[in-house]
Symmetry: none
Subunit: 240 residues, 2 copies
DNA sequence: AATGAAAATATGTCCGGACAAATTTATCTG
DNA sequence: CAGATAAATTTGTCCGGACATATTTTCATT
């Protein structure tokens, strides 16, 4: 239940960097100094620093020291799933399900789910916002084949990111994700929901989650008003 | 000079997975088994496994074990640069430079390049198509600061993907790529070039390439008519 | 003042051990 | 046989120490 020690130290260091107590471009205290300051072993100090390396806030160099390279966490900015993850975790967003229904798949949905037209599907429609109750910035639709299958029914009870969802539903783990990104006109009903002009364009991210055996778990479609919301991420390439 | 021990073990395990001696979906030997097999400490075994976690070949779960989730290192197909790579290499596309010019940076370009408004810049404007002479599906603009700098001049002579470009110009290697993705209305002149309706929406990918020291090499903006072209990629390799 | 060798510093690698927490497996009980 | 309980298994956390390697600093020499 309680946080590991190295996590506590990492959190504290992150706050210190975010608050400017350790400026970008300067060196963090050395391992031994951290050991003394937090009364931890060197191993624990290194684990804490590893967290910040993973967050891309620091870089370490043997003999030189630990350099602060960013004053905020840049966590998932390595993977394309980060676009989504950035929204779901990094930016600490909330998904509020507005309604759920059983629908017969039309052409478009049938293609997304890879099923026959007319197949019963569960559909969850929600809005994503940074804080609960705040203005939404993204329309999120989640689909699953089978209106009566037990997993689909449970899907209606839980809420949150698809990854959390999959964990909660005890599906095991996600084997593959297919992702389509394109631009599209934002449907007027969604424009209304998001409070943006009717003629807006949007970034459409359609994702399909498969289990390791290749069976589709769920599909999700997210619409982001494009001009308002810009995804930015940096990628460092290792040449080793 | 010599590789660390944990790296040797990680390499061996990776080869074993790639060769199918450890199948995707199965469990890797436990830490203690690895300790015995390679005559290493548990710490070293854990370091080795950490490498494979970083490569996204395995996933670990306390109490359960170490699951093999991929049979090859997942490197660039995890990064959003694959969107571009898919176009440049996977789909075997051609970039045809339509014209080059020296321009004074306006507000937008100055922000993209991180330079003063009014700075001389090289601008290459081109169209991307699957085959030379075929209908283009993407508008590509490449920018570089300095209208007279030798590298900029040479930029006008070569053509192709930015990565190939960088290689040809012998810049060394790209240290970092920053990327913005958003949706936008497609400017009417570009719509004309691409032969799509004037009121089209487009996917706009703006990328900035830096050398390892952090100096900007070039910036590129690609516009794709959104509804026509869909990026599709898989994040995790399915069991094949 | 410039150079180069030595010392100090800081991170990297590696070992040993101990206990905690999560999961799986075996066992007992009704 | 089903369900709860206990044991075994497996990874996670944390400590201590030692030496290696890369970098910076110091200092003696020229």
């Amino acid at each position: 239940m309680s946080k590991p020690r190295y996590q506590t130290v990492a959190d504290q260091l992150r706050r210190d960097i975010e608050k400017g107590r350790h400026q970008v471009g300067t060196l963090l205290p050395t391992e031994l100094q951290l050991c003394a300051a937090y009364e931890i072993s060197r191993h624990t100090a290194r684990e804490a620093l590893r967290v910040l390396i993973h967050d891309r806030m620091i870089e370490r160099k043997q003999g030189s020291g630990t350099l602060v390279i960013a004053n905020s966490r840049q966590r998932f900015n390595h993977s394309i799933s980060s676009v989504q993850d950035l929204l779901q975790y990094g930016a600490n967003t909330r998904l509020t399900i507005k309604h759920t229904e059983i629908v017969a798949a039309d052409d478009e949905l049938a293609e997304l789910l890879g099923c026959e037209v007319g197949t019963d599907c569960i559909h969850l429609h929600g809005l994503r916002s940074t804080q609960k109750g705040e203005a939404p910035f993204c329309v999120s639709d989640i689909y699953r084949i089978g209106g009566k299958d037990p997993l689909s029914r449970r899907l209606m009870e839980v809420s949150g990111a698809v990854y959390a969802l999959v964990e909660e539903l005890e599906i095991g783990h996600i084997g593959m994700v297919e992702q389509d990104i394109n631009a599209a006109p934002l449907p007027s009903e969604n424009a209304l929901e998001l409070g943006v002009p009717k003629s807006s364009v949007c970034l459409r991210i359609a994702r399909r989650y498969f289990d390791p055996s290749g069976k589709l778990i769920v599909a999700a479609v997210n619409l982001h008003p494009g001009s308002d919301f810009v995804y930015s991420m940096s990628l460092k390439q290792s040449t080793s």
